[in-house]
Symmetry: C2
Subunit: 369 residues, 2 copies
């Protein structure tokens, strides 16, 4: 990863208790906000980001110079309307865009690296709630997230039921499946097999585990797209050539695209953060946290007493397929929580939540109305 | 890969023309046979193996000591009955179990390594047909294969229509999709990122690219199993522990299983062979080879003039889903070739063709009757 830019950060005044039993003191949370906070603080929306996301939801990424990752959804007059709402987006702890993570400096003056405690999604949410405490926001208008962001939204609803009046969970799951864990494990093994990883102690060195991180990203990236979407986008078309090379260059466009995705990713992401965040996702099982029954996770949301929920899935998402959303909805029903659920049709697979799906805009607008 | 055992090999008397334009002279084909060849040579069945398969279809693997990879299907009284048939199974060229491949010695006395020509599935089939020529077998009773073996069976039918009276293609495709190519490219990049790969020149060295090959195998292995199969087999169960470790050990059984699959594979397979064979599979597009129309690939099989075909898919195979088999069947129909087609229900994903699926036994038996 390139040199870190200056982030807008805030230090939590209280140590953060973690699921592993440790406490993390002096936690920094890096965040961005968009739109004015109302005097009564009733219009705050917390957007939770995905595995490789960050706080730059609607503004230029300081490392890549690319537009915010959800600019099509967040901004003035957009589905999450910053003329109306005060949007907060914070980098999760364990990540590498300014919030405390494995690259942060420990008490002994050296980076934590693999001494950083293994986190859970609930720990990330504790960090976000710590930020809301510092900002004096007792209750969010809405907490929203896609993918791992959706896990955080559900975890916040389960563990801090009074902190959000609405919960919008998109393309997500209440637990990581064996297949989800398997794909992440491939990525972690690719990173750890890179001799430049050196047990995680590569900070400050010239050589970083970019090759391993790139392979991890390539494997994960395939799971974000649908088979049909890949076929539509690339098929078997060749890259910058008329015939096969009978070699090991990137003959096919899809190979070239994947290599680009892999190498580009290493410019903006830290390999150890990738290990920690995928581990947190694999550990995620909201039912297990609440005695084994998912409905019990939402016990604080009985009718007329809790948040309103909206759950959205995509028909081509094979990473967190619709069955996973249905599982969440059944649990919310069993808990008596008001929930609307829609499976949207979109060709892009899991990544649909980030892409041009007008029906998604309409559902979000309707839910925030 | 461990030291090579002694293989039963035969040298082709004629050089092999390859799709890349080169010729390969002195090609060795390693093969095993089971059952007696009839005096009129009418009872020979050629079994084509998959990507990481070999000629030990029904006898102990000399490196691993494990039973043959299709012993449940091939043997006396089994669906492919060696009391009745003479079964031939040969290691494909490009592989590493005795047939000529990247580890073979080139004219200059050094291993080919990456100087080995890039092969196609048709080139592998040319090697197999060369073997049949040497054995004096003009026409097979049946050519059969699953996965990449099915590609070879189809390629043999298309390019040597007179060489097989029956063609049995299981869990396969007539072309590699963008998603298929993408998964293979992840594996190749993992191997090439391993510093022990050294541009393929690791033969005779103590260090071989096992870490990269292991990651490649892990990624591929996920695609061989169904999501439901993985959930049934592993779910989120922990490995040899009662609680999560909050570390990066293989906490989950599925992680432990994948690591075992990856590391075990490196004992029996050569990383360069993995590069070459995956490349051949990615290049496979039977229609493209025949002017762009798949039906034209089977032009030699008009009704009453060619082979009988049987195509089998599995409902949980997401690597080569049923739609790919249907595509083959439509082309055979258009060519006027006699074909039976069945989609079998089995929980194991792509690997179903290797596992306990009684309905598969019955279809094979019926087709060979």
């Amino acid at each position: 990863m390139a040199t870190a830019p200056a982030f807008n950060t805030l230090q939590l005044s209280r140590p953060l208790p973690l699921d592993c039993g440790q406490e993390l003191a002096g936690v920094e949370i890096a965040f961005e906000t968009y739109g004015e906070l109302a005097a009564d603080k009733s219009n705050a929306i917390l957007i939770c980001h995905a595995l490789t996301g960050d706080q730059y939801v609607a503004s230029e990424h300081p490392v890549t110079g690319k537009p915010g990752w959800w600019e099509r959804t967040v901004g003035p007059g957009k589905p999450i309307d910053t003329d109306r709402f005060h949007v907060i987006c914070a980098n999760v702890i364990g990540s590498c865009m300014g919030s405390t993570g494995p690259a942060s400096i420990a008490d002994d003056g050296a980076p934590y690296a693999m001494r950083f405690p293994v986190l859970t999604i609930r720990d990330m949410v504790r960090g976000l709630v710590g930020l809301l405490d510092e900002l004096g926001i007792d209750q969010l208008h809405t907490v929203v997230g896609g993918s791992m962001g959706g896990m955080q939204a559900l975890s916040l609803a389960a563990n801090f039921p009074e902190r959000a009046a609405r919960v919008l969970a998109i393309a997500t799951t209440a637990r990581h499946s064996a297949q989800n864990i398997a794909f992440h494990e491939v990525g972690r093994q690719a990173i750890m097999a890179d001799p430049n990883w050196r047990g995680g102690n590569y900070y400050g060195d010239e050589k970083t585990p970019d090759a391993g991180l790139s392979v991890a990203r390539m494997a994960a990236h395939i799971t974000y797209l649908s088979e049909a979407g890949l076929t539509d986008k690339f098929g078997r078309r060749l890259q910058d050539r008329d015939a096969k090379s009978f070699g090991f260059d990137a003959d096919f466009q899809v190979e070239s695209y994947l290599r680009y995705q892999g190498s580009g990713f290493t410019q903006r992401f830290d390999a150890n953060s990738y290990l920690y965040i995928t581990r947190a996702m694999d550990y995620f099982d909201l039912a297990e946290e609440h005695g084994g029954k998912l409905a019990d996770a939402f016990a604080g949301h009985g009718r007329d007493s809790g948040a309103r929920f909206c759950v959205i899935s995509f028909d081509t998402d094979w990473l967190y397929p619709t069955a996973e959303s249905r599982h969440i909805v059944h649990a919310l029903n069993a808990a008596g929580a008001p929930v609307s659920f829609v499976e949207l049709s979109a060709p892009y697979g899991h990544d649909s939540f980030l892409l041009d799906v007008p029906a998604l805009d309409r559902v979000i607008e309707g839910f925030l109305r």
